[in-house]
């Protein structure tokens, strides 16, 4: 068995006294591509936010690369792709500038960007098919292209683990394919992936294991379940109201 990359032991999370996750245990080992599935509000996004330390655990523990979260400092080994680009204020930023932020974990705050940084940013932009948009303001991109910008930002840091929160929600077909291609390249290079998804789409062949979160607990852990009921209908319109299922964070306020 490969070395554990993520270990959640009996983790519990609540917001304002309302439990969201109860007694959840999960282990992801190197090279795995794990999809966390579940309905809106099931706690699947909360699970990965707890793994990254963005929401505190009430009980239980999280370890990354075998190190307890509290003592974990090697953040350059992790690439995080949030659900969507934050509103980001009114100041424009180019695609390249956003992607270049991905180098900070590796480079540190004080060192100015060098040649290795530029090469990594170029490679990440090429991997997601946005090299020709590098100089454009991110605000002018489509939703799918913005999502690809975020995965490029994570890839630019050359991480060993990618954590993605609903990477394909509301993303156009071309971007979904580009996204799946970039992810495949990362997995072929030996990377580990934990992603939250509502529907897998073109990512499905990449997934090695699925974890279904239901009512704050893990209801299934194993093979990717086949779509059932009306979800299996090819014409099923996967448009769901994506209401905020958790309190607004600092950033979204």
């Amino acid at each position: 068995m490969n070395a554990p990359v993520i270990t959640v032991t009996r983790g519990a999370v609540g917001y304002d006294g309302r439990p969201v996750l109860r007694d959840v245990s999960l282990t992801v080992t190197a090279g795995e591509v794990v999809a966390v599935l579940g309905a809106n509000g099931s706690g699947k996004s909360t699970l990965i936010r707890a793994v990254l330390g963005l929401v505190p655990l009430h009980a239980g523990s999280v370890a990354l690369f075998g190190v307890p979260l509290r003592r974990f400092r090697q953040w350059q080994r992790i690439g995080y792709v949030p659900q969507r680009l934050g509103a980001g204020g009114g100041v424009p930023a180019t695609v390249r500038e956003v992607v270049a932020s991905g180098r900070l974990a590796r480079r540190g705050v004080l060192r100015p960007p060098g040649r290795a940084d530029r090469v990594a940013v170029d490679a990440a932009l090429t991997a997601v098919g946005l090299a020709d948009r590098a100089g454009d303001p991110v605000a002018t991109l489509s939703g799918g292209q913005q999502q690809r910008t975020l995965i490029a930002r994570a890839l630019a840091g050359e991480p060993e683990l990618l954590v993605l929160d609903e990477p394909t929600a509301g993303v156009d077909a071309a971007s979904q394919e580009a996204f799946a291609g970039a992810l495949r390249g990362f997995v072929d290079g030996g990377g580990t992936v934990l992603l939250v998804a509502h529907e897998l789409g073109p990512l499905r062949p990449l997934i090695t294991r699925a974890v279904v979160v239901h009512h704050g607990g893990i209801a299934h852990d194993g093979a990717v379940p086949e779509p059932a009921g009306h979800h299996a209908d090819p014409d099923h319109d996967h448009v769901h109201p994506h209401g905020p299922d958790e309190p607004a964070g600092l950033w979204s306020s």
């Binding site: 990254l52 330390g53 963005l54 090697q74 953040w75 350059q76 992790i78 995080y80 949030p82 680009l85 934050g86 509103a87 980001g88 204020g89 009114g90 100041v91 424009p92 930023a93 180019t94 390249r96 500038e97 956003v98 270049a100 932020s101 991905g102 180098r103 900070l104 974990a105 705050v109 004080l110 100015p112 960007p113 100089g135 454009d136 303001p137 489509s142 939703g143 799918g144 930002r153 840091g157 509301g170 993303v171 156009d172 077909a173 071309a174 979904q176 529907e199 789409g201 073109p202 090819p234 014409d235 099923h236 319109d237 996967h238 448009v239 607004a248 964070g249 600092l250 950033w251 306020s253």
Partner: protein, 288 residues
């Protein structure tokens, strides 16, 4: 031009130029975070420092730096908590700051002209010591904001991502808070506490109408701040207007010129593109 032969006018010009350059370099991070008016709040708090300084017979600018820094850190702590009551806490701090300042200035022997000098600025009464403070703090601020740009950009653009990247998010936020307090206090002598926010925010608002990236916005905003400060002092010297207000009015005038020119340019370009074949983006289709 002969007015600028006098040392007090030279000091006014140098002070204004340093502030014109430094204020937008800090202000861009506040705009990015949608906290454009925070400088105004810190300015209100700084006035209490001025009052305390006058009352205790200490340097008002020095005491104001300390009080404004404490105020800015309090505001940052309230913001980081993300509570809904933060809005009201800020209001208490702002109005408490200005009321405290007016009361303390009143208790001291200072005249209302002295109070006005801090409310609306008094560039021509900058002493050589004041100028040294402005230049040293202004240059330190400028160097910090430019050297840490990638990290500060990351924190202001996406704070959660910055946390997962292992950046010292709390320290960087505090740096912006302290930087705001320093900017407010050095700019206080030039444009006054009531107009400080304009110099931090208006050049950024002007620049971002025509720029495409963060770096170019920062450079353009600093150039615009420098232009507004320089031309404002020149206009004030020749037309005998209040320098602080002249600087701010020129900054706002630049905003209007760029807004109108930008709208015109976009209209012309739109007409040109619509005559050719329209480029339509593929509709966003969600695959099941």
């Amino acid at each position: 031009m002969e007015l600028f032969q006098y040392p007090y006018m030279q000091r006014a010009l140098i002070g204004a130029l340093v502030i014109g350059l430094a204020a937008p370099a800090l202000g861009i991070y506040l705009v990015q975070r949608r906290l454009a008016l925070i400088g105004d709040g810190v300015g209100h708090v700084a006035l209490t420092g001025v009052g305390a300084g006058l009352l205790l017979n200490r340097s008002p600018v020095l005491v104001a730096v300390i009080v404004a820094t404490l105020g800015a850190i309090t505001i940052e702590l309230v913001r980081a908590r993300g509570r809904t009551s933060g809005d009201l806490a800020l209001a208490l701090l702002f109005y408490g700051g200005i009321a405290g300042g007016v009361t303390l200035v009143g208790l001291s022997d200072a005249t209302s002209a002295k109070l006005n000098a801090y409310l609306f600025g008094s560039l021509t009464t900058i002493s050589p010591q004041d100028l040294t403070t402005i230049v040293v703090l202004g240059v330190a601020l400028l160097v910090t904001m430019l050297a840490l740009r990638p990290a500060l950009f990351a924190v202001c653009h996406d704070e959660e991502y910055a946390r997962v990247a292992g950046l010292p998010v709390r320290a960087l936020n505090m740096l912006i808070a302290v930087g705001t307090a320093v900017t407010v206090t050095i700019a206080m002598r030039a444009v006054g506490v009531l107009l400080i926010s304009a110099l931090m925010v208006v050049p950024v608002a002007t620049a971002q109408q025509v720029t495409r990236g963060f770096r170019s916005t920062m450079a353009a905003a600093m150039a615009l701040g420098l232009f507004a400060a320089g031309s404002g002092v020149w206009v004030a010297a020749n037309a005998d207007t209040a320098p602080g207000a002249s600087v701010v009015l020129l900054a706002i005038a630049s905003f209007l010129v760029v807004a109108v020119a930008g709208a015109g340019w976009r209209a012309v370009r739109r007409r040109r593109t619509t005559t050719g074949t329209a480029v339509v983006e593929p509709p966003e289709v969600v695959l099941s």
